[in-house]
Amino acid sequence: MDVTEVPGGQSDSGKKWMKRTPKKKKGGHGEKRGADRKVEEEEDEKKMETSEGVFPPNFSVSEIKNKQRRHLMFMKIKQEKRKVKLQVKKKKKKEREALGDKAPPKEVPKTIENQRVYDETTVDPEDEEVAFDEGTDEFSAYFNGLTNPKVLITTSDRPRGRTVRFCEQLATVVPNAHVYYRRGLALKRVIPQCVARNFTYLMVVNEDRKMPNGLVLCHLPDGPTAHFKVSSVRLRKEIKRRGKDPTEHSPEVILNNFSTRLGHSIGRLFAALFPQDPQFIGRQAATFHNQRDFIFFRFHRYIFKNEKKVGIQELGPRFTLKLRSLQKGTFDSKFGEYEWVLKRHEMDACRRKFQL
């Protein structure tokens, strides 16, 4: 019985299509329908349209072998689903209006941020252990006001124009930054020289095919080294509606959404780039915003119109970073101790799980 039913279902749909699309149907399998049968088919169809449950329960579109018919069936099913959805929506809206104030509150839509898998390394604001760690890690000297940041920006070998301009603009954003041309020097030799000259940070912009695509940020007196992938770099002249060039005032730093332990350490890494006391006269703010493991960097000038409104104007370059690896000591690709490495297969498998 089952065996005969399924082909019956198929042939039913076939009948439908025969009626609906006489032009499209090529070779009609030699089936000829009389007028009576057609009437029956119409009735059947109406029944089927009004109640979708009349489709045989194990009917699925993928069982139709003919591509065109299958496609048409699928579109039909979709249309009906859409219609039903619309009706349900309308009904709900009517109910809500009817209830007026007593209506139940609107449901919160699910977003990726809502559905994020809880990360056990999320930092509690009052966690003592974290506070203790942060008090004694490599940035403690900076955060206690002992050292002033001094940044060295360089590139990989033979940088092209875009990378050079990017480095220059970075140097205007970060106060007390110096750009040096890399003359084929090995980073391992550069680092002790930097330490000797009291630099606190080394930034290396890596280039590929005339575009900057990587950033190595190394905190110098044996601090952590972070390697980022850089994407969507917009230089100053490519930014629309931008303000004038940034001034020499030290900007404020805004760090958003760094919630896990890893995120915290990266956040501190960024924070230590800028001097501790921002000059509010300059009204400049550098933002590092973390969203789904992408860190967006923006540089704005703000002005408070009144106490409820602030206007911001973008100056400066913008780029996005994605953390690839965090290494414990200074840059050492062979023998370094990696605190965290992006493992694509493990970490990108779940769409709701983020590391920072």
């Binding site: 994407s231 404020e252 509010f280 006269i281 009144n306 106490e307 911001i312």
Partner: protein, 304 residues
Amino acid sequence: MQCDDVIWDIIGNQSFCSHKVKTKSQNFCRNEYNVTGLCNRSSCPLANSQYATIREEKGQCFLYMKVIERAAFPARMWEKVKLSKNYEKALEQIDENLIYWPRFIRHKCKQRFTKVTQYLIRMRKLVLKRQRKLVPLSRKVEQREKRKEEKALIAAQLDNAIEKELLERLKQGTYGDIYNFPVHAFDKALDQQDAESESEEESEEEEEDVGKREFVAEDEIEESDLSDFEDMNRLKTSSDEEEEEEEDEESSEDEEEMETETKTKTSKSKGKSPANGAAARKKRAYVEIEYEQETEPASKSMAT
């Protein structure tokens, strides 16, 4: 019988040679034993029974020689001589081995040997320098990342987030008194203070009236005059109050600016931890109002 001209006729000009590469301007020869690399009558190793080349294997250079006596033994056709690593000595070796050979072959061998040593030197230098590590990119992965980034950017709503953060900082007072905004708060404070002062006046008056003994004159006019004077004084005091309020504010502002400077230095105005100045700041605002209230009775007492 080995006849070079016939061979050259066939492979060079008329028929096919599998080692020949034809380009628009020139013919090249891809035979491994070719000295120059071009397809010529004098450079073809097949069409010359007496031939010599230089070839290198794993950084070592060898001189290969072919003579007509061994033309019948293909397995033993090429004689291989290892050349010294010293450039001049090797050249002497070449000369010594190819003595009495045609000038062309000797010259071309030496030229080839020079070129080979030069590129070997360059290879050794490159190995010492830092090599670029080429990491293969998977296009699918890159496209996925790009799409994720775009979606993340949309979800981030950066401008809103930045504005919100800045407004929060303003509210918490990390900016100290640079922006004289808190207009609403100021008005509220003013209203509050007026209400309090009125209530205080009333209470004071009641208290005064309750226990006090006044010596009243007979003439009411004097009283009225007195009362007028009092009112006028009161008026003056109110304006004085305002002036003094402003003065107080300015002085307190100056004090506060000094204090805020020191505060911002110590507080972490990075947005990570709420500025420690926040709580103190609020307390300070309170203190401000108290100051004004204290000066009021002082001025009043001074007037009376």
